[in-house]
C-alpha cells in the first residue's frame, strides 16, 4: 500500500504523468470537436471508434515509457538496491512497484474519461455499456504496455537502451507482428486457422480493438463462414483476457529473470 502512496506522490508532483495525461486530454477534446457534426444518436459510436483509433497510437508508447523509466529510476536513484537489502527479492518489489504504477496511471486516466463522459452527454445520446467497454479496453491496453515497459526498465542499463527497446516494442506491435501474419495469410486453411488466430490475438492492439468493436456492437459477425467461425473460436472478451494474462505474466517473469540492478554498463 505504501508503494501506491509513494508512486502517487512522486508522479503527481512530477511532470511526466501530467504531460502524458495532457496529450490524452488534448486528443480526446480534438476528436470531440471533430465529431460534433455527427448525428445525435449514432455519433457516439463513431466518436468512440475514432477516439480509440487515435489514442491507440499514444497510449502504448506513453505507458511503455512511464513503466520503463519508473523502474529505471529506481535503479538510477539506488533506491532499488536499498529496498532489495531490506525486502525479500526483486519479484516482490516488482509486484508492489507495478501495482503502484497501475494506480498512478489508471486513476487519472479513468477520472479523465469520466469527465469526458459528462462532456459527451451534451453532444450525443450515450450508451453507458459501450462507454464502459471503451474504458475497459483502454485500461487493458495500458496495463499490458505498462508491464512490458516495466520489463524493459528492469533489464535496460541506460536511457538510450530504454528508448531503443521501447521503440522496437512499439514498432513490433504496430507493424511487424501484423506484417508477419500477413505474410502467412495466403497459407491459412481450415486446419491451421486456429493457430493463426491465436497469433493474431497475441497482439494486444488487435485483441483490444476486436473486444471494443464487438462489445459496442459496431462490428458484427453475421453470417460467418466456416473459416471465420474457426478463426473466432472463442469470444473476443476471452481473447482479450488471455492476451492480458499472457503479457502480464511474460513481462513480469522477463523482468525478474533478466533484471539488472545497476543503472549503468
Amino acid at each position: 500500500m505504501h508503494y501506491i502512496w509513494k508512486e502517487w506522490k512522486e508522479n503527481i508532483r512530477g511532470k511526466g504523468l501530467w504531460l502524458s495525461l495532457s496529450i490524452i486530454v488534448l486528443i480526446s477534446i480534438a476528436i470531440l470537436f471533430r465529431s460534433s457534426a455527427l448525428s445525435f444518436d449514432k455519433g457516439f459510436y463513431v466518436l468512440l471508434i475514432n477516439l480509440f483509433d487515435t489514442i491507440i497510437y499514444f497510449i502504448p508508447i506513453l505507458c511503455l515509457f512511464i513503466g520503463a523509466f519508473s523502474i529505471f529510476q529506481e535503479k538510477e536513484q539506488k533506491t532499488l538496491i536499498m529496498l532489495l537489502t531490506k525486502t525479500d527479492h526483486f519479484g516482490s518489489f516488482l509486484i508492489k512497484k507495478c501495482l503502484g504504477l497501475y494506480t498512478v496511471v489508471l486513476v487519472p486516466l479513468i477520472t479523465w474519461f469520466f469527465i469526458y463522459l459528462l462532456l459527451l452527454k451534451f453532444t450525443f445520446q450515450l450508451n453507458l455499456k459501450s462507454y464502459f467497454i471503451f474504458v475497459a479496453a483502454i485500461v487493458c491496453m495500458s496495463l499490458v504496455f505498462l508491464q512490458i515497459g516495466a520489463a524493459i526498465g528492469s533489464f535496460s542499463r541506460s536511457r538510450m537502451q530504454i528508448i531503443g527497446y521501447t521503440i522496437f516494442v512499439w514498432f513490433y506491435f504496430f507493424f511487424l507482428h501484423d506484417f508477419i501474419l500477413l505474410s502467412f495469410l495466403p497459407d491459412v486453411t481450415h486446419e491451421n486457422v486456429k493457430l493463426f488466430s491465436s497469433f493474431y490475438f497475441l497482439n494486444p492492439l488487435q485483441a483490444v480493438r476486436m473486444f471494443l468493436e464487438t462489445g459496442t456492437g459496431v462490428y458484427s459477425f453475421g453470417h460467418m463462414s466456416r473459416l471465420l467461425q474457426a478463426f473466432m473460436w472463442t469470444k473476443p472478451v476471452f481473447f482479450l483476457l488471455g492476451n492480458l494474462l499472457f503479457w502480464l505474466i511474460t513481462s513480469f517473469f522477463t523482468a525478474v529473470i533478466f533484471n539488472r540492478k545497476e543503472g549503468y554498463e
Binding site: 505504501h2 502512496w5 509513494k6 506522490k9 512522486e10 508522479n11 508532483r13 512530477g14 538510477e76 536513484q77 539506488k78 533506491t79 538496491i81 536499498m82 529496498l83 532489495l84 537489502t85 531490506k86 525486502t87 525479500d88 527479492h89 540492478k261
Partner: protein, 225 residues
C-alpha cells in the same frame, strides 16, 4: 560480526576477488580501502547477497548469506554510493517509505529521533530535490539508522561532499554506539578520525590492519599526523 572465508568472485576470466578472508568483530569501525576497480563494490555486493557467491562463505552474525534464508538481512543496513532517494518526496516522506519497507507501519517517534540525530528535523518537509548533497547524505544515513541494525555498510558516505558536510556526517558516525560499521572510503582523514581498522583490497587479495598498522605499512604517516 562479519566472517568471510575463502571468497572468490570472477567476471569472465578475471579474478576480482581471490580467496578473500576477513573477520570484522562487533563494534569495530572498519574502512574498506583499495584503488579504483580493486573490487570494493564487488565485495560489498557479495556481502549483501546481490551477487551470488559461487565459492567461499560469508557469515553475518553467524548466519550464512544466501537466498534460502534471508534472516541475515535484518542485521544489515546498507547505504549505497551516489544515491538520490525520491526527489519529489519530502525528507519525512522518504523516511516513512523506507521505514514501512522494513516494518509494516512507520514509528513516527523513531523517525523524529533519527532525523534529529542527523540534524534534519527542521528540513523534514522540504522536497529532497532541494536538499544539498550533505543533507541528502545525512538523510540516507538516517534511513539506515532507523532500522537500528547492528551492522552498517556504507559505500563512500562522504563522497562529493564539502568539508563542513563531511564533518557533520563523521560526527554522526562517530557518535554511534554499539554499531559495527564497514565503510568504503578514499579519505585518509576520515579513516584516521573514526575508524578502528582498515581492510585493504589489492590485486584480489585482502588484508586487515589496525589503522596505525595500515598507515605505517603504507607510509602514510601516523594517526596524529
Amino acid at each position: 560480526m562479519i566472517k568471510v572465508t575463502n571468497l572468490q568472485q570472477s567476471f569472465g576470466t578475471k579474478n576480482v576477488l581471490d580467496s578473500i578472508h576477513l573477520d570484522i568483530h562487533a563494534n569495530e569501525i572498519c574502512a574498506l580501502v583499495g584503488r579504483n576497480g580493486a573490487g570494493k563494490s564487488t565485495f560489498i555486493n557479495s556481502l549483501l547477497g546481490l551477487l551470488p557467491v559461487k565459492q567461499g562463505e560469508i557469515l553475518i552474525n553467524g548466519m550464512a548469506v544466501n537466498k534460502k534464508n534471508e534472516e541475515w538481512k535484518k542485521a544489515i543496513a546498507y547505504l549505497p554510493e551516489k544515491f538520490m532517494l525520491y526527489p519529489m518526496l519530502t525528507g519525512l516522506e522518504n523516511m516513512t517509505f523506507f521505514a514501512e519497507a522494513v516494518t509494516k507501519t512507520a514509528d513516527q517517534k523513531r523517525i523524529e529521533q533519527v532525523l534529529r540525530s542527523v540534524s534534519l528535523w527542521d528540513d523534514r518537509n522540504e522536497q529532497v530535490k532541494k536538499y544539498s548533497k550533505g543533507m541528502l547524505q545525512r538523510l540516507g544515513l538516517a534511513i539506515t539508522l532507523y532500522q537500528d541494525s547492528s551492522l552498517l555498510i556504507l559505500d563512500e558516505p562522504t563522497s562529493g561532499i564539502d568539508p563542513l558536510g563531511r564533518k557533520e556526517i563523521l560526527e554522526v558516525l562517530g557518535s554511534l554506539q554499539d554499531k559495527t560499521i564497514l565503510l568504503s572510503s578514499h579519505h585518509l582523514d576520515e579513516i584516521k578520525q573514526i575508524c578502528t581498522h582498515v581492510a585493504y583490497l589489492d590485486n584480489g587479495k585482502m588484508e586487515k590492519y589496525t589503522v596505525e598498522e595500515f598507515l605505517q605499512t603504507h607510509h602514510l604517516g601516523g594517526i596524529s599526523s
